[in-house]
């Protein structure tokens, strides 16, 4: 099973914690909103869960990629 991060865009308020917690997959665009790249590999699963949990607006989810 492969995983990816999905953003709930209307909830996202560009707080940017996700990019700090998962820089391997998330960086911020010029307005501070997350740009998610690639799938979450098993080695990143723990960090990805932490990033989703840390989002103050619960706007980031770890979802099945396929």
């Amino acid at each position: 099973m492969t995983w990816t991060m999905r953003v709930d865009w209307p909830s996202c308020a560009a707080r940017g914690l996700c990019a700090e917690l998962l820089p391997e997959r998330i960086h911020l665009d010029e307005w501070g909103f997350p740009v998610v790249e690639g799938t979450v590999t098993p080695d990143l699963l723990g960090l990805a869960k932490a990033a989703a949990t840390a989002c103050p607006h619960r706007a980031l989810r770890l979802v099945s990629a396929g």
Binding site: V7, W9, C12, W31, G32, F33, V35
Partner: protein, 452 residues
């Protein structure tokens, strides 16, 4: 245009329709520029005041009979009673795809909605938010029972009695026409049995994105009718988490047609791989307030649809659409497959041929400006990216050399697929298509020129 039905959209004879409501899009914030010049407006961004429906082979075959239930039953017969398997097999064989723009196979949606644990909900989406589109409006005005028949047969097959109908508030004639059609159906003798759908009407606020599927479901759930993130397809989890079969009005009418005619009868129109017909909306040649809706069998040469305009650049699929260069359609036919092979798309069937004096770069700029203002303003990339893209496109259209190809590409990448709905994706598609189809013209603009 003889032998056509002309109907008023913003008011309807005998109905107390109010004044048309202006779209309530707040002004977008744009980056400051030394030049405050704007691109002259040439594209209509209000819904048409009137629509002309010309007779067509299937859905529009009865337009001259009038919209009454009696005329409809005289021409098309009684509603068929079909079980779910028959419905699934027939719409599958008829290859009916969604006509709201995405073109998703209806049979797959129906199958998903039918296998849910909870009873399905059926939704007819008539909230035609795109100003240039009027086909669903036309159907409601001239052939409302085709739409209702499709939803009713499928609702019965799904053993659901709940059918929601969402109409556009800024086109009050649509709601009036559907309400009139429903009261005709209610008055039919012997039509009070319990398998009758309970039709529920709801009006969607004006706005380009208010007809988006999730926005419609939000409205029905009693929340603001704006797009939200869909974690699952609505056929699996839609209204109140129930399996929801939401399709646009033309799709329901096509479903009614294929179920009534059978897959073979339906396939008498169209081509081997694309049976049936599609509705198209074109601007009226002389009257900017009027939209023309016609029905074309798949495989119809574009020259039959467009006449001499086939030699002009054509924006296909409306404001979220793609550009066909001058002459590309001259030898082509109305076919979703053929268009896809050329990197083009029919979307919801809006066809906008350019006049000889219109510059596609300027038109795109105008449309992107409109789309930026039409954002629901809830998703960061759309809220920030679309006004920035509109500003860049304005500079290009005006031939200001400060605009940059790289920056446009960057902004397109930053908005695409980064929202709850496909509004930013559609805007990105339009701009990308301009850059691909009219690369020379864009390059000329970036040097300060324009060929028109």
């Amino acid at each position: 245009m003889s032998g056509a039905v002309l109907a008023s959209v913003t008011s309807f004879p005998g109905a107390g329709a109010g004044a048309p409501v202006a779209p309530s899009a707040p002004a977008a914030t744009v980056r400051r520029s030394l030049s405050a010049r704007s691109v002259p407006r040439t594209v209509r961004t209000d819904p048409p005041a009137q629509v002309v429906a010309t007779p067509g082979p299937v859905l529009l075959s009865g337009v001259l009979d009038g919209p009454s239930l009696e005329a409809h039953r005289d021409r098309f017969g009684q509603l068929p009673q079909l079980d779910l398997d028959t419905v699934l097999a027939t719409v599958g064989a008829g290859a009916v795809v969604g006509r709201g723009g995405a073109g998703f196979p209806f049979a797959r949606k129906l199958a998903a909605a039918a296998t849910g644990r909870r009873r399905a909900v059926v939704v007819i989406n008539l909230a035609e938010g795109e100003p240039a589109s009027a086909k669903d409006t036309a159907l409601a005005l001239v052939a409302p029972h085709q739409i209702l028949d499709g939803a009713e047969v499928v609702a019965r097959a799904l053993r659901t009695t709940e059918v929601h109908i969402v109409t556009p508030l800024e086109r009050p004639a649509v709601g009036d026409a559907i309400a009139a059609a429903l009261s005709e159906r209610a008055a039919q003798p012997g039509r009070r049995d319990r398998s009758q759908p309970r039709w529920r009407m709801r009006a969607a606020e004006p706005g380009f994105v208010s007809g988006q599927a999730r926005a419609v479901l939000e409205l029905l759930a009693g929340r603001p009718g704006l797009p939200v993130t869909a974690w699952k397809p609505e056929a699996m989890s839609g209204l109140d988490g129930r399996p929801t079969l939401l399709s646009n009005a033309e799709t329901w009418a096509q479903v009614a047609a294929v179920l009534r005619m059978g897959a073979l009868g339906y396939a008498a129109h169209g081509t081997d791989t694309e049976p049936g017909t599609t509705l198209l909306t074109l601007p009226h040649r002389r009257d900017a307030d009027t939209a023309v809706v016609l029905e074309a069998a798949y495989g119809t040469p574009w020259v039959d649809v467009l006449g001499p305009d086939v030699e002009q650049p054509v924006l296909l699929g409306g404001f979220h659409g793609t550009w066909a260069d001058a002459g590309v359609l001259a030898e082509a036919t109305v076919s979703r497959e053929e268009l896809r092979a050329r990197g083009l798309g029919l979307g919801a069937g809006v066809v906008l041929p350019m006049r000889a004096d219109q510059c596609p770069v300027a038109v795109t700029s105008e449309i992107v400006d409109y789309l930026a203002k039409a954002s629901a303003r809830r998703c960061g990339p759309c809220l920030n990216g679309l006004p920035a893209l509109a500003e860049e496109m304005r500079l290009v259209a005006l031939g200001e050399t400060s605009a940059s190809w790289t920056r446009i590409g960057e902004l397109v990448g930053l908005v695409d697929k980064r929202g709850a709905c496909a509004h930013p994706d559609g805007t990105a598609r339009l701009v990308r298509s301009l850059l691909t189809t009219f690369d020379d013209e864009v390059a000329l603009h970036l040097r300060g020129g324009c060929s028109r």
